[in-house]
Subunit: 163 residues, 2 copies
DNA sequence: GTATTTGCAAAAGCTTTGCTGCAAC
DNA sequence: GTTGCAGCAAAGCTTTTGCAAATAC
């Protein structure tokens, strides 16, 4: 179960910026905020329809675009483990990174101060104002590691054909 | 001009693993290695055709898939600044991150020890064998920052409609 | 000579768009 | 009553696939 704390209140944020709160948007936002997993557009539509039956695919995409533009949700690729869909999550108070296992497909989240330090460093060294930071790691989780023991420091994918 | 040093020799790596060196693959690989920018599949095809006229789109995608699987190139999304295409770069000796400016579209690379430290930390704390790490940052470059001075530590995108 | 790889063309998958009518404020 | 937003259906774009012919080794 995904933690529900530390989330922005999307509904509140939307209306305070003058956007209409349609019943469709409510259903979509509630679905996103209460989701256990990262949802792609199709899954979100399916889940949101249990709250409000008549939601259209176009509305899903338009709402996601809006929330993304407002910085209220994050868009993830999750290393394209399965196709080119995008995944979404309500933006948490702290940035975190996503680990994707090439073998079993598990997605893990990891929060660390180092990421915040890195963000500050990026801003300072490049005079760059950071809006969104997306850090995704592909590899092998502890259950799927090719062999136990060594974790290589190298950046090269170990061997071929392993994905 | 992008630095040409610190690259893997893709041709050599391919043949040493027993893959055939077709003229199409040669043309594609040479194009990738000498590219000044990050190339998407269509641009790569266009550029490679100047070396070898008859290359097909399917071959491009199949070759990219192969090189990616072998860990010889990185696949980037560059924060989806323009559509959903993917971008590719020959894998460098050191990992680096990509900064994408929402306003002018500039892509900058930044290499830092902190990224390597972060990678080690990820591996240690999650017992995760890192294959590929992809870190992309969306924001505003020094020429496009909304206002000078403050660089906010917050992760929220500043204001709405700015992308 | 044989197995791998290519070209071709069609399809698949996800996302976007134009337009009409509905609904939030 | 306005104006923004949703629904519908069609199109758009990138990427993938099946199969026969070509090519690297």
């Amino acid at each position: 179960m995904k933690a529900k704390l530390g989330r922005c209140s999307l509904l509140q944020a939307l209306s305070s910026k003058g956007f209409r709160l349609t019943s469709q948007r409510r259903a979509l936002i509630e679905t996103i905020q209460e989701a256990d997993d990262h949802l792609d557009a199709a899954s979100l539509l399916r889940a949101a329809r249990q709250r409000k039956a008549d939601i259209n695919r176009a509305t899903v995409y338009r709402t996601l675009e809006l929330l993304k533009r407002l910085g209220l949700i994050n868009e993830l690729d999750l290393m394209h483990l399965e196709g080119e869909k995008h995944y979404y999550e309500a933006r948490a108070r702290r940035d975190h990174l996503h680990l994707a296992c090439y073998k079993c497909g598990a997605i893990m989240e990891y929060t660390t101060r180092t990421l915040e330090r890195l963000k500050d460093e990026i801003a300072r060294h490049n005079q760059f104002q950071v809006g969104v930071i997306r850090l995704e790691v592909g590899g092998w989780c502890k259950h799927c590691r090719p062999r136990s023991g060594t974790i290589r420091g190298s950046s090269m994918a170990p061997g071929c054909g392993l994905h």
